[in-house]
Each structure stands twice: as structure tokens, then as C-alpha cells.
Amino acid sequence: MAITEENPGYKWVGTRPIRPDGLEKVTGKAQFGADLMLPGMLFGKVVRSPHAHARIISIDTTAAEAMVGVKAVITGGDFPDLAANGAHPSEIDVANNTIAREKVLYEGHVVAAVAATTREQAEAAAEAVEVTYEILSHVLTVDEAMADGAPLLHEGMITKGVDPAPEEASNVASKILHERGDLDQGFGEADVVVEREFTTKPVHQGYIEPHAAVADANSDGRAHIWCSSQGHFQMRAYSASVLGISPGMLKVTAAEIGGGFGGKTVIYLEPLAVRLSQRAGRPVKLVMDRDEVFRATGPTSGTRIKVKMGVAKDGKITAAEVWMAYEAGAYAGSPVGAAGMTAIACYDIPNFVVEGYDVVCNKPRVAAYRAPGAPMAAFAVESVLDELARDIGMDPIDIRLANAAVEGTQASYGPKFPRIGFVETLEAIKDHPNYTADLGPNQGRGIAAGFWFNAGMMSSATVHINENGTATVVTGSPDIGGSRQSMALMAAEELGIPYESIKAVVADTETVGFNDVTGGSRVTLATGAAVVDACRLIIEDLRARAAKTWDVELDQVEWVDGQAQHAEGAQPPLSLKDLAAKSGRTGGPISANASLNSRGVGAGFSTQLCDVEVDPETGVTRVVRYLTAQDAGRAISPDYVEGQMQGGVVQGIGWALNEEYIHDSDGVMENPSFLDYRIPVASDLPMIDCAIVEVPNPAHPYGVRGVGEVGIVPPMAAVGNAINDALDVRMTDLPMSPVKVLEALNEQRD
């Protein structure tokens, strides 16, 4: 269902053609990260810390090096000491996370890597690397990490964002603060105030394809990397930094990618594979097992969040106070900054304080995960808002409408919103039959909303017209959510040729201009704009060629429906095919490049409606009906837009009900497999109904906003609010597993 404000009469944009990558994927031909085989290639294996926090006393590789088939063994000492070289702290953290130097900071932290002729030999050699550790006490949660006298991960860590700066080091990397108005006055004006505390566990992005990289180093110091990532230019930059070489020494080719959700915007294996390849003089492949993916990549933060909000009887929020602490894992950099900016961004609130802390602890370093930081904050804020609506007897959509941010609202994080579509998503829910569908026994209905900025950043595209009038669209944005289709649709619309005549490809770092990562929901917006720019340059060129052919002024030539037309109809039209065939006589090949820094992002909003049924005797919650309404700006490819909307919801439902990192008291992860780390399976879910809202982003040629992330922001609160509606228990601790729901129900019965 699409709510289109005005229908501009697009021919290709907004259609649902067959996806271009489908055939190769279903026939198994697509080359994912682990699929590449090179002649003479060795297999690598990484040695990981079994301890959550320990000092490395020594690493003895002699036994491993002496083993049959072993061609190279590397440790942290095989990489430049970036700290000694005065590198930026964030680069030092990336390097130390890739391979530990003095200390290991989490179970699974890399300490060494080997390469051997066979996988089995590599595994045996990895076992034979002898590491002596001095075990240190560890901290696993923000509570433990922030406690007085907590063991420190980084002895020199002084909290940033606090004035005056603290004298003592701590595990708090930084503090953020957003304030407006007068909190006391705001709460004074409230008729009802609700205050609650929430906790969430780290959760993994759960991409199905484990990380994989192949590196082939040359003797001149150059190397070629093939890897599955969300941005091969980023992989090049990070890898070069860790290896201490210039990015130009590396060529990175993007493999097909089997999911990333933010977790493949960072490096793990690439520099290790390059160094092993350099040492061995042969190509080296490194592939993670699933348990390595869990123990050492991703996840997103576990959190503790306190929310206090007040409303007047008319539903107006008078004040909000939010305190939050986010686990960063081993190195500074939790998404608490984005959490602080998004927590109350849906609403126009006169008085607020949002305070947040970025806290390191002995777990894997967190990585981006769809709308990083926003979902946990939304779980807390949207749960409290639900309770406030109940307390004043107001419909949950109406209370949100009463406070909704609109064009011109000063966003809680600073700027004024341009045209946005939050209100439209709320109305789309209200207008949908699900909103009034009957509920059965033990069923309940919950509503929640979410905000995400969406990103812009830098992109490049090249468009080539082939000799037969078809086109190739080249970008450097790995296609993780359908971008090849969207690029082809926009190019078809611009050039006026059929979608089927266009092939969109993802080129390596040496074949196309720079592209930032496929992340931040930015590719259809920014890379799409670059494709549109390049197509428009092509059209300029084609018009000029037609003008030359006809010997008329350029302004006499129009480009309509894929052909050059004479303004007065004095000449028979020249199609793209005609012009391509004659390109040799009109100036040579037809091709154009465009590079840009995105001209303006369009914020994304999502409102979701969830119906659950809870078994009051077992605490098992099943989602029985689900509707998500999201402002796409413009759905270039509605199939993929719905895929993104549904995917975000499904991941959110997993996060809500079952997903969590479980650690034992030694800080060892207990559930590093999809058996016990429970992402939803297909039979757990109803069809996720989608209402695509289209309030075009004025800053994009087709109005695109970006749709990849905001869908994961509301689900946890939507599910929690639905459980509360079903059985009158307010769940404040994720996941809302059967054990916890039953405990809450038992307490209620006592």
C-alpha cells in the first residue's frame, strides 16, 4: 500500500521488476566472501583469547611454525605500533581490536593468526600457538564498569565531555548532554509523571554470512583483498592504517554480501589476511566460524536507561528526563551519541535533559547495527509514553499526534526539521484495518514510533552507454539491500530506456570513484543522486550530439522517452540506440562520471502496530499481527523498501523477545550459535504488513529518504506495549523472554 501525495507519472521508479541479483543467488553462482578460490591459496585460522581480560605475557609460535603445512604465523608484533607512531586514538583502537598487543579485552580477541596448506593444518597450528596470560578482573556490564573501584580496561581513559575533566581514569569514555527549557517547571506542569528504568542486552546483527576475506600480496608491497563488506573503500582505508601502508597499495574487490546491518562497516580479518599472505608469499583465505562471529564481531550495546516523562491531561508532554549508559565493548565508541540525539526526536518537547554515557567493558567492541543506539532509547521512551497515554486515558496514536515533530519543529538534537512525514505514518496506522481488528483472549495491541536521521555522505557513479544503446551503471556501493535495482530504476527513468536495458554493477576500489560505506540508509539517496547526475550528464551529451547531427542549436533538442526530439518536430527523433550506434562519428564513447557530497538527507520515521498473544501459563509471546508504516520519501523499488521495513521489524521482534548475549561469570559467551542465540525463524512471525508512506525529501531528485534503519527502532516498545495491553505487565528488561514474562505474571498473581 503506498500513500503517494502526488503521482509524478514515473514510468520505472516505483515499479516492482525482477531483482537483478536473484538468478545468481538462487542458483548458487553468486560469489560471497568465502567463495573465492585462488591457485596456491592457503587457509588461515585466527587464535583468540579465552579470557575476558588479561595481559599477554608471551606468545610462543615455534611449535606452530614447525608444523606440517604451516607457512606463516603472525602476532600483534607483526603490525606497526600505531600508538608509538602518534596515530589518532580511533585508529589505534581499530588496530588493537584487529590484533591485540599488550592486553586482551574480551573473550575472542585476536592474539595471533596462522596460514597453512589445508584448513585442518591451520586449525591444528592455531591450537599449537602458546599464549601465556596474566588474567585480570573483568567488567561485563555498564553497572560493573561504572562501579567504584572497577578494574580499568584502559588505564589512561579520562571521560570526555565533562567539564572540568575528571582527574581519575575510569571506564567511562565520554558523556553527552542535550538540554532545553526548565525541567522542574516542565514536571510542575504535568498532570501525570511516569518514571521507569530499562535494561537491554547486547544483540548481534545476525547476518547469515560470516566474515570472510582473501588477500593476495605482491612482492612490491601491493595487495589485493576480496571481502564481503559494506564498503570496500572503508576496508581499504582501515586495512592500510593497521598495516601502516598507503591506501593506494591496496585494491579491494567487494564480494556479494550475505547481510551486514551495520556489522560489516568495520574490519576484522582483512589486514591479518594481507600480512599472512605477505609472510607466506601465497594468497590466504580467512573465514570466521559462527561462534567467532558472535564472540568477536558486532554486537550492539547492552544498556541501562532511565526515563521520566510528564504529560498534561490534554496529552502534551511537558518534560522528559532521560539518563542512559551504553556498553561500548572493549573500546570507546558505543552509539550513545546517536541514542541521545534520537531518544525524543519524534516529539516537540519544551523541557528536557538527555544525558548519556559511553562505557567500555570486557565484551566485543560494538559495531553499528541498524539505526545504531536508537532502538534501546526508543524502547524506554515509547514504553513510558504508552503508560502515560493509559494513565490519562488517551489513544496511543493521539498522544503521539499531540506531540509529533512536524516541518519547522526544533529537533531535540538541534536543527529545525524540514518537511518530514511522522504525522503521516501515525495516520497510516490509524487508517489501517489492523488498528481496529478484534483481539482474542490473552492478546494485546501495542504502538510505538521511531526516528532515524538517515545519512548522506560521499558517492560516485559512472554511467556507460553501450554500442547497442543499453547502459551500464557503475557504483562503489556494495549492494546489501537492493541498490543495484534502485540504481537501474532511477537510470531507466532518467535515460528513458527500459530497466532491462540497464545493468548496475559494483566496481572495485580502482575502477570507480570513492564511495562511503553502504550504511546510514544512504545509498539510494546519495549514490542514487550520483547516478542521476551522471545520467543527466549523459543526456546533455546526447542532446549535443543530436544538435550536431541536425545542425541545430542545443536548446532545440529535448530528451523525451529515451530519444532526442526536435523542439518543433522538424527532424525525426534520434533514439538512444541510434545515437549509441553513431557515437564514433559524434565524439566517441558516451560515458559520464559524477561524484558528490550528498546535498541533504531526509529524516525517516516509522510507526508500528503490534498484536501479540501471551500464554499466561508459560510466558511465551507470539506476535500474531504486525503493521509497519514508514516514510520512504519515495519508494524507488517498493519490493526492496518493504523488504527493508519487514527486515527491520523482524530483527526488532527477535531483540524484543529472545535475542541476547549470555556470558558466564568468567566473561565467556555461553550462546555463540544460532541454536541458543535465538533470532526469529519464519514460523515465529506473521506476515509483516507494510504501509509505505511517501512524503518526498525535497533534497533528492526523486524524493528519496532512505529506509534501511528506522524500521528497527519501534519494535521492542511495540511488543512490550502489546504484552502490557494483553496481561497488564510492564516489561522493562530485554529480552522479554518466556522466563521473564512468566516471572512478571507470577509477581502480579501474588
Binding site: 508459560t618 507470539r622 549470555i662 550462546n671 544460532f674
Partner: protein, 289 residues
Amino acid sequence: MKYVAPSSVEEATSLLSSSPSAQVFAGATDVVPQIRAGRPAPEVLVDLKKIEELVSVANDEDKWTVGAATPTANLTDDPAFSEEFPGLTEAAGLIGSDQIQNRSSLGGNLCNGSPAADSVPAMVVNGARAVVAGPNGTRVLDVAEVVTGPGQTSLDADEFIVEFEIDRIPARTGDAYLRMIPRTEMDIAVVGAGARITLAEDGSIEHAALALAAVAPTVVRVPEAEAALVGNTADDETLSAVADAASEACDPIDDKRGTVAYRRQVAGVLAKRAVLIAIERAQQRNGTN
């Protein structure tokens, strides 16, 4: 690691006797993941699926005979078997997924020794017997006697199960199996409950069997619940006695899959519900089979 596929029971037993570290397998849906997860691989892996009687489902007037290595999909696809033992069929049909069930066997599910094995409570309440082959011929054991602890069985290293025997179901009898998992499939039972009820002519309960999975080191029978049922009907009082007895019979652990308190409470709930389903099925099966 060597792979061998004997074609007779005798060949298999002699292979097992001659190589002490040999291990049999059927579907390998436990064996392979365990080896992948780092459990030492045996020197010889003996594939039982090439032995004809181990992959068959048959019945005569007295009993059903199910080959120990038969893919559980063959059972769930067998209309006569599933009609007669809907509970055992449901239990077998819960194992993993379609792909897993094309491989997984009752013999493997039992001998893997997991307290959470889904088919085991359902076999136990149906009084299934295991026919065990060894160097000195065969012996017959109650299924309940096979597993002695997590991952442990009473079989000797050179013995294996050839087939299971299950007596034809009597009149007015029904079985049921329920399990609690946080998801809807691809999961391991946090609690499982199998029940079988035979009703007397007057509708009261004549025989009752109740067994629980995942709440103790092995699958457990709950004699107190069975005693509470016999001679009664499924009134609230009886059912709450069943639930209490089931909770009481649990000797669970706290782990990543569930807490002690949760397992106890939900064991009672599932026991009660399984009994009710078994009674309903028994009521529907008024005549003889």
C-alpha cells in the same frame, strides 16, 4: 576417521567388536555437529542406514516395529502410524526441521542421551522397547532403561539398537507430546511432556503414563501424577495434582535455556495440557484399532 557402511547387523556388530573407538550413527544430525564443535572424532564411523531392518516401519497384529535408523520423516509421513500414535508422531515431527527429519532417527535421538530429546518421553509413555544387538545376539530393553545420564547409555560399546517395538495401541487410548521452546521450531526443549491415557468404559482413567523431558538428567516418569489420574476424571483437582506432581518430579538446572523455577512451573503446565489432549484422543478412539 574412517567411514564404513555395513549391510547386516552381524557385520556391524563384528566391526564394533574389532574396533574399540568405533561409533555408530544414523542420521548424524547429532554426531556431525558434535564433531564440528570439537568433540574428538572416533576412528571409525559406522553408518547404520545401509542395514535394511534398521530403516523400516512395519506392523503386525501385536506391535509396530520401527527400525532404529529410520528417518523420522518416514514415521510422520506414515498415515497408519501417525493415526495410532499422534503424540509420538508429533514428538518426532518436532525434531529440528524438514531437512533434519529426513535424517534424524529415533535411535539417534535416544542414544545421543540428551535429556531434552523430544521423541523419548513419547516413546516411554507408549512403553516402547529397544531391541539391542551385540556380539552375543540380541536383547530387549525398555526404552526408559537405555539412557542413564546426559550423553550416557546402558549399552555396551559393541552394542547398538536394531529396532523399536511398540505394542498396538489398545482401545480408548490416546497419547500426546508437548514441548516448550521460546521459538516455534529449530530449538531445544526447555520442558517436554509426554502423556498416554487409557480410559475405562465408564470414561474414568484406567491407565496413565506421564514422562517429562529437559527437567532432569534423564527423561523422567511421574508415578505420582499417574497415580493421581487413575480412577479419576480430568477434573480441576486431579489436574492440579498432576501439575504439582510433575513440578515436584523435576530436578532441573539453571542454564541459558531456562531457570529451575521456570522449568518446574512449566513442567506442571505442560503435563496437565498433555494429559488433557491424551484424554481427548482416548475418547475419540472408542473402538479397537
